[in-house]
């Protein structure tokens, strides 16, 4: 469903991606952990088609329509309301009007945006903006979700709801890739775990029931030894 073959990319002398290859099938979640500057965002941008790699190729079954992206930028228009933004992005992904209305109502309710749905996005706090961004990314029911630090700014309730949402999506056969520097986030959702350091996957393995602290320990050792 999602594959990467020999992805390499450099910004000047800094290698952001260095020969990254992997494959993910339906219902799998890859959590990519790495320190700041490891190349996690670059990897997601390449997978999303936002950046052309200098070497290698990435393929998503279903093409751009299949991808849901949550990055550092929300893609939301500040002077449109949350509802208007969701409908606009759903239209761009060719979701019909009736489905747009149903999904927008559902996501707004689940992400606790009801009170804010008719307010301009510019009036939202950082956390509410992140919730709206998550709703925007899910409006077209993507089959591959690429999430760059998706828990940033979320309060405990919203983070829990996002975990539940992602769990449901994976249960329905969606593929999720989460990139984060925080090992505590995303471990419980992952079926595969990768540690990225200086553009390389220094480890890529199944989670195999490891707990958060075990993964954190393995991460520290892998990054220190790289």
């Amino acid at each position: 469903m999602l594959s990467a073959e020999g992805l390499s990319h450099a910004f000047g002398s800094v290698r952001a991606l260095d020969g990254i290859s992997f494959q993910l099938e339906a219902g799998h979640t890859l959590a990519v952990f790495g320190p700041n500057g490891a190349g996690k965002t670059t990897l997601l941008k390449v997978l999303a088609g936002l950046l052309r790699p200098q070497q290698g190729r990435a393929a998503v079954r279903g093409g751009p329509r299949a991808i849901g992206w949550i990055g550092h930028q929300s893609f939301l228009y500040g002077h449109l309301t949350v509802s208007e933004n969701l409908r606009f992005w759903a239209s761009i992904y060719r979701v019909d009007a009736a489905t747009q209305q149903r999904r927008a109502a559902d996501l707004i309710a689940r992400l606790g945006l009801g009170e804010w749905a008719q307010r301009p996005v510019a009036a939202l706090s950082r956390g509410l903006m992140q919730r709206a961004t998550i709703a925007r990314a899910l409006m077209h029911e993507p089959t591959v979700l690429l999430l760059d630090e998706p828990f940033t700014g979320l309060d405990l309730a919203a983070a829990a709801e996002l975990r539940r949402l992602l769990g449901e999506l994976v249960g329905k056969g969606r593929v999720v890739v989460i990139a984060t520097h925080n090992v505590d986030e995303g471990v419980e959702l992952a079926t595969e775990i990768a540690f990225q350091h200086r553009g390389r996957f220094v480890q890529f393995s199944p989670r195999a029931g490891r707990s958060g602290p075990q993964v954190a320990d393995a991460y520290r050792k892998a990054v220190a030894g790289a």
């Binding site: 999303a48 088609g49 936002l50 329509r65 930028q73 228009y77």
Partner: protein, 226 residues
């Protein structure tokens, strides 16, 4: 065939809604139009050159520079929260994006012209009522051409420094043919000459529209992908 046009309208409707909400650019353009016409009105000696000889040039210089304000904002809207990246990674075709921007810009410039024309008549006391229909026709013909090129250049300069300065510098040389045609036709229409006398210029304007709308549509994808 209809799908790309529908999506173009989704983009255009969003741009117009954003403009309706903020009214920043439209108000600036209308005020600018009124000010330029006022300056020209008081900055000339009506006894030295008859108004009817100066009026067509004044009208088109005003429209051209007011349109720049619209064109500058076309892609600036997409920089907020990096929405342009979201559009480029979505299944929206580059052609639909270009046409959406073109439609929104045409509506925007048409509004400015609709306000500017009565002001022009008021300030310069030019009898336009007997030639109103052909005059509106030539305004539409010239506007389509320069907005088509302007929309392309607006996308080209948006990620550069000093985009607002770069746009007129790049665009103005390309506007010479439609401006010449528009001024010639307007002068003859206001001078009471028959429409048959300006058919050559009208053909030039129509040819410019066809060539540059086609060229800009074709050149837009590599422009935004780079």
């Amino acid at each position: 065939m209809l799908e790309p046009l529908k999506l173009a309208w989704v983009v255009a409707r969003k741009d117009l809604l954003l403009e309706f909400r903020t009214r920043t650019a439209i108000l600036s353009a209308v005020v600018f139009t009124a000010l330029v016409l006022t300056v020209f009105n008081f900055g000339r000696d009506p006894t030295a050159v008859p108004t009817i000889e100066l009026a067509p040039s004044i009208l088109w210089v005003t429209f051209t520079f007011a349109a720049m304000l619209a064109l500058n904002r076309a892609f600036a809207l997409e920089l907020e929260n990096q929405a342009l990246e979201g559009l480029l990674v979505s299944p929206l075709s580059r052609t639909s994006l270009y046409w959406g921007k073109l439609i929104a810009n045409l509506v925007f410039v048409a509004v400015v012209e609709a306000v500017g024309l009565p002001l022009f008549v008021l300030f310069f006391d030019v009898p336009v009522w007997h030639v109103l229909l052909p005059l509106v026709g030539v305004i539409a013909l010239a506007t389509i051409g320069f907005v088509a090129v302007g929309t392309l250049f607006s996308a080209m300069v948006i990620r550069t420094r000093f985009a607002e300065l770069m746009l007129p510098v790049l665009l103005l040389p390309f506007l010479i043919p439609p401006l010449m045609g528009a001024v010639q036709v307007t002068a003859r229409l206001l001078g009471g000459r028959p429409v048959a006398e300006v058919l050559g210029w009208l053909r030039l304007l129509a040819a410019y529209d066809i060539v540059f709308v086609t060229l800009s549509t074709l050149l837009f994808p590599p422009t935004v992908d780079e």
